[in-house]
């Protein structure tokens, strides 16, 4: 609505201004900079919600009125909070399925529990583009180094969700073959279930969202007290 009024204002301004000649002049015609400025101001005023004519025009406001006008329209925050807000509403999960939980993980992208409502629908095929690793299934001791490598390849900030009983506590495969995820990588959220329903995974992702909103700038080493365990030392 405001946009349409702004467009109309641009048209009116050009008709009213004798310097630019009649409206509908051909492309490439010379435009008087002064007249253009007037048209721009009129359009942006309408976009801000002000009237084109009369005392309510922001350009005519002064003193306390101007302060109030700005306060009503501008929100201030810290950069960290703004960044955390953006991050927590746009996780890029890695396309990485381990076992049967992966089927449930896939279905959170589908219509019923549409994860795109929260902005997490962009599953990335490369760990270097992803910032969320959902361990969906059992991790065998042969797979564990591979999972760890994928986690290491992800760029900070990064988070991990351990989905289902198997990769949290080895579940029904509590034997020689499996290893729980906490033994070889930091996990932020554990989602119980065998397998968890898509709603449960969704709940876990939203818990993680809350966590990211609360603690904006913590890398996983800070979160888990692992500073100094870097494989590549600075300067090496």
């Amino acid at each position: 609505m405001a946009l349409r009024r702004a467009r109309a204002a641009v048209g009116r301004a050009s008709v009213a201004d004798p310097a630019t000649g009649p409206a509908g002049e051909g492309l490439g015609a010379r435009v008087d900079p002064e007249a253009l400025r007037v048209r721009e101001l009129g359009a942006s005023q309408l976009l801000r919600g002000g009237e084109l004519e009369g005392p309510a025009q922001p350009a005519h406001l002064e003193g306390a009125d101007l302060e109030r006008h700005v306060e009503e329209r501008v929100m201030t925050t810290t950069l960290e909070k703004a960044v955390a807000w953006a991050r927590s509403n746009s996780f890029f999960p890695a396309t990485f399925g381990l076992a049967c939980c992966a089927i449930e993980m896939m279905s959170i992208v589908a219509a019923r529990t549409d994860v795109a409502r929260f902005g997490y629908e962009a599953f990335r095929a490369s760990p270097r583009q992803a910032d969320l690793l959902i361990l969906s299934g059992r991790v065998s001791i042969k797979m564990a180094p591979i999972v760890r490598r994928i986690y290491d390849q992800m760029l900070e900030p990064k988070w991990a969700i351990s989905m289902g009983a198997c990769c949290s506590s080895m579940g029904v495969f509590n034997n020689y073959a499996l290893v729980p995820a906490d033994k070889f990588m930091p996990v932020d959220v554990h989602v119980p279930g065998c397998p968890p329903r898509p709603e449960a995974l969704m709940h876990g992702v939203l818990k993680l969202r809350k966590m990211v909103l609360d603690d904006p700038d913590m890398s996983w080493r800070e979160r888990y007290g692992a500073v100094g365990t870097e494989e590549v030392l600075p300067g090496a």
Binding site: I141, N175, Y176, A177
Partner: protein, 171 residues
């Protein structure tokens, strides 16, 4: 399946290689001498059992000899199955591999991965196998996890009844 009489006929034809015949629930099994396994498999192939449906291991602990290897053969023409079983002791368990070709005796290619699995899980070594490595467990894994005296591993599961016994981290 050959019926009980048919099984006896096959056993008679194979002679001293067969130690025992078992006919149980319409399932015919030949128990054979481990050293003669290639001969037995070749003779059964000549009789029409040309498809090896499965090769797997068993641990009969505490019976001796402990380990067993089972070969499930299938005659695709008559839809007829027969099992061949051999038993080897746990220490130095070694059986001729069914994989390599021999003069006048074509190998069973399908046995390659399955023998690797039996080796991985039970520690039966297959002589002359082209590539006898572990297949499921990591290469540096120690022990053979499907043996019955192998610790089950894993972690104690916490329920409410044993929660009080759970080791706590020092405060």
């Amino acid at each position: 399946m050959p019926d009980a009489t048919g099984l006896e006929l096959i056993a008679q034809e194979l002679g001293s290689a067969v130690l025992d015949t078992v006919y149980f629930r319409e399932r015919a099994t030949l128990e054979v001498e481990p050293a003669s396994i290639r001969t037995v498999l070749a003779r059964l192939r000549d009789r029409g059992y040309a498809f090896m449906a499965s090769l797997h291991g068993v641990d009969y602990y505490p019976e001796e000899p402990r380990l067993g290897v089972l070969y499930e053969l299938l005659d695709m023409g008559r839809v007829d199955r027969i099992s061949v079983k051999l038993r080897v002791p746990c220490d130095g368990a070694e059986v001729d591999s069914a994989v390599p070709d021999r003069p006048g005796d074509l190998g069973w290619r399908t046995a390659s991965h399955q023998e690797r699995e039996v080796y991985d899980m039970f520690g039966v070594r297959f002589r002359d196998h082209p590539d006898l490595r572990r297949i499921l467990m990591p290469e540096d894994y120690e022990g053979h996890p499907q043996r019955r005296d192998f610790p089950q591993g894993g972690e104690p599961v916490l329920f409410t009844y044993n929660d009080s016994k759970r080791p706590r981290a020092p405060a």
